[in-house]
């Protein structure tokens, strides 16, 4: 009664290099198609979508079609003057996910003063609960993703002191599981995306001592499947976005060498769409900006020399993190 491993098969005719030009065009065009179905129907995640696309372009040393001013203007219009939070797009509600994305974009273009920064800080601080956790917005959903968003946003603004960091750490620590991983709330199952959020959170707050390094790094490297791809939980299919969540976490833990880098590269290359450009979650699926960023960023962590160096904690170009003089904690032997 042998269990069949859930995985995919890599076809022999996969591209052998990163199709930079195609990906750059894919992203540039994506942001220009106001009337395209795909773009128009996803307005509710626009600012995060901009972060994925613009960061991918920056890592590929390519400028977007929009000017720095146009981008800042769009974000500025998404800021809610009352709460200070930033929404996905005009008329939609502020949310911590888009607030972080907006701040990340403005940091990349060195243009933070385009928005009301005190408003952003006020908004983030207003979302912390007494147990240290963070809500995503005023409607009360709690999740460790939001803990990450809170400290990442504030660290980028050099305003971590606006919240109770110790209590926030305590909450994240309470989400640690039997397998060394982290989930969305206390006692929630470990998931590579949430592990990235929690490890990233602890890296920013300089509290990686909370992590059971060996147990977690083992769980993370067990995500690699025979195809070379990484899944997000045991017995799940591989997906390019986990190349980022797992790899960045292993980087922060100083255990990147625990996976087979060559096999993973091959998997990521296979997820490229050779016609439209862009990366899909798995070979043969539809490409999108989200997976394109994480494919490119993973290539950066794997040392691809044509991609700019990415910071594993913030998922932003390292030169931006250096300019901001941030030094998120990393574990080294």
């Amino acid at each position: 009664m042998a269990t069949v491993i859930k995985d995919i098969e890599i076809q022999p005719n996969i591209p052998i290099s990163v199709l930079f030009e195609k990906h750059a065009n894919f992203i540039k065009e994506y942001g220009q198609k106001e009337n395209s179905y795909e773009y128009g129907m996803t307005d509710y995640l626009r600012v995060s979508g901009m972060f994925w696309g613009l960061t991918a372009l920056e890592l590929m040393n390519t400028l977007p079609k929009q000017s720095k001013g146009e981008i800042a203007e769009y974000i500025k219009n998404c800021q809610d003057p009352e709460s200070g939070g930033i929404s996905a797009c005009l008329q939609h509600d502020p949310h911590i996910l888009h607030t972080l994305s907006a701040v990340q974009i403005l940091c990349i273009y060195d243009n933070l003063n385009a928005i009301d920064l005190d408003g952003v800080v006020r908004y983030i601080a207003s979302l912390q609960l007494s147990d240290g956790s963070f809500m995503g917005d005023k409607w009360g959903e709690v999740d460790t993703r939001f803990s990450f968003c809170a400290v990442a946003t504030l660290a980028l603004l050099n305003k971590l002191n606006a919240i109770d960091v110790n209590q926030a750490v305590e909450f994240v620590a309470s989400c640690k599981n039997f397998d060394g991983g982290f989930g969305s709330r206390p006692l929630s199952e470990s998931h590579a995306g949430l592990i990235y959020c929690c490890v990233g959170f602890l890296s920013i707050t300089n509290r990686l001592d909370v992590v059971d390094r060996d147990t977690l790094a083992w769980w993370l490297c067990e995500r690699q499947l025979p195809s070379g791809g990484l899944n997000g939980r045991p017995e799940k299919l591989p997906d390019v976005c986990y190349s980022w969540w797992v790899l960045s976490s292993l980087s922060i833990l100083g255990r990147l060498h625990w996976i087979d880098a060559e096999a993973l590269k091959k998997f990521i290359l296979a997820c490229q769409d050779t016609e439209t450009g862009g990366f899909a979650d798995r070979p043969g699926d539809v490409a999108d900006p989200f997976h394109t960023l994480f494919g490119i960023a993973a290539m950066s962590l794997l040392g691809h020399e044509s991609v700019q160096k990415v910071n594993p904690t913030f998922c932003m170009p390292q030169h931006v993190i250096d300019r901001l003089q941030l030094k998120p904690q990393m574990m080294i032997d």
């Binding site: 009664m1 042998a2 269990t3 009337n35 179905y37 128009g40 129907m41 509710y44 995640l45 929404s87 996905a88 008329q91 939609h92 509600d93 949310h95 917005d137 409607w139 009360g140 959903e141 999740d143 599981n177 039997f178 397998d179 989930g183 969305s184 709330r185 006692l187 929630s188 199952e189 470990s190 998931h191 147990t215 790094a217 083992w218 769980w219 490297c221 067990e222 690699q224 025979p226 939980r233 045991p234 017995e235 299919l237 997906d239 255990r255 060498h257 625990w258 996976i259 087979d260 096999a263 769409d273 899909a280 979650d281 798995r282 043969g284 699926d285 539809v286 490409a287 989200f290 997976h291």
Partner: protein, 319 residues
């Protein structure tokens, strides 16, 4: 886009699809514009309210529309509170409709954060919530997909809210594991129910040992075994017994890396005294290098630690 297969279509099909999509897009944009531009603090338009439900069933990730619906409910809640029993009945009717709506949207997309949160929020605002119904709903969704962590998380919110006895929780966990041994989510859930002590650890070891011995290539139970082995309440006799059982199993399944890995856990810092097993650990890690070259970076790190220990021991002997 997760898991959406790219399909080849003819030019004709493509044009037809594009035309349909343009129609859908125009309807979406007109709809959301109508709802959001007419949003007010103290009143609402029932046509917009109905329209938002349609848009959410098609796409439950439009978070602002859930917020809009919550605002409407709160407007009604305030009005209801002034109207006594009659008001409460109206509010209940409204909230029941929200529960129905989330059930519909969850059927279309069982992994939407927005739908699950809206459901929880509705239950929290319900004057007379039917908790049993919610537990049944969770079981129904877990039967469809027993790895849906949104559903597990929702269930946990309910448990936190109303409380449930450890015995009931253990029974629930047993049911889930009996339905599917190779379900990582169920093993995880089990790990959260209680901390193991000398009384409970024997049963847990037996349970998980049974699972890994039934199908050694099934990975889920091995993670749970590692956790059980890391518990100080485990006696040396039990560890030695397990080591022997693993060696027997290995004879039947000589190429299963998990068995060798479990021997490493048992003989390393997790369980048995390192000193007794240090030579064998070198042999185990060398075997893992052969069986699982994907993770050779990890095994080489541990092999070095084991070999350094031997060198250290020999050094100590000399002096």
């Amino acid at each position: 886009m997760h898991g959406r297969l790219k399909v080849r279509t003819s030019e004709e099909q493509k044009a037809l699809k594009e035309k349909e999509q343009q129609k859908k897009l125009a309807a979406y944009q007109a709809g959301i514009q109508k709802i959001l531009s007419g949003r007010k603090k103290d009143s609402y338009d029932s046509e917009c309210f109905a329209l938002s439900a349609q848009l959410l069933i098609a796409n439950p990730d439009i978070y602002t529309l859930w917020n809009y619906r919550k605002e409407v409910i709160l407007i009604e809640k305030e009005a209801c509170e002034e109207n006594g029993t009659e008001g409460e009945e109206k509010l209940i009717k409204l909230l029941e409709a929200e529960l129905k709506l989330t059930e519909q949207s969850l059927l279309a997309n069982p992994k939407s954060y927005g739908s699950w949160h809206h459901r929880y929020w509705s239950m929290m605002n319900h004057p007379n919530p039917n908790w049993a119904n919610e537990f049944n709903l969770c079981t129904k969704y877990l039967n469809m997909d027993d790895r849906n962590f949104h559903c597990w998380d929702y269930r946990r919110l309910l448990v936190n809210k109303i409380g449930i006895s450890l015995e009931d929780e253990l029974n629930f966990s047993n049911d889930r594991l009996n339905a599917n041994f190779s379900n990582y989510s169920s093993w995880h859930y089990r790990s959260t129910l209680r901390s193991l002590d000398e009384d409970s650890i024997g049963y847990e070891l037996k349970l998980v040992q049974n699972a890994v011995f039934t199908d050694p290539s099934d990975t889920s139970a091995w993670f749970y075994l590692r956790w059980v082995l890391s518990n100080p309440a485990l006696t040396k006799d039990r560890k030695t017994e397990l080591m022997e059982a693993l060696e027997q199993l290995e004879e039947l399944e000589p190429n299963c890396k998990w068995i060798v890995m479990a021997k490493c856990w048992l003989s390393g810092s997790l369980a048995l005294n390192d000193k007794d097993y240090v030579d064998r650990r070198v042999e185990f890690y060398k075997r893992l290098l052969e069986l699982d070259p994907t993770r050779k970076g990890q095994y080489l790190d541990y092999l070095k630690i084991a070999e350094d220990k031997i060198k250290q021991r020999e050094c100590d002997r000399k002096f």
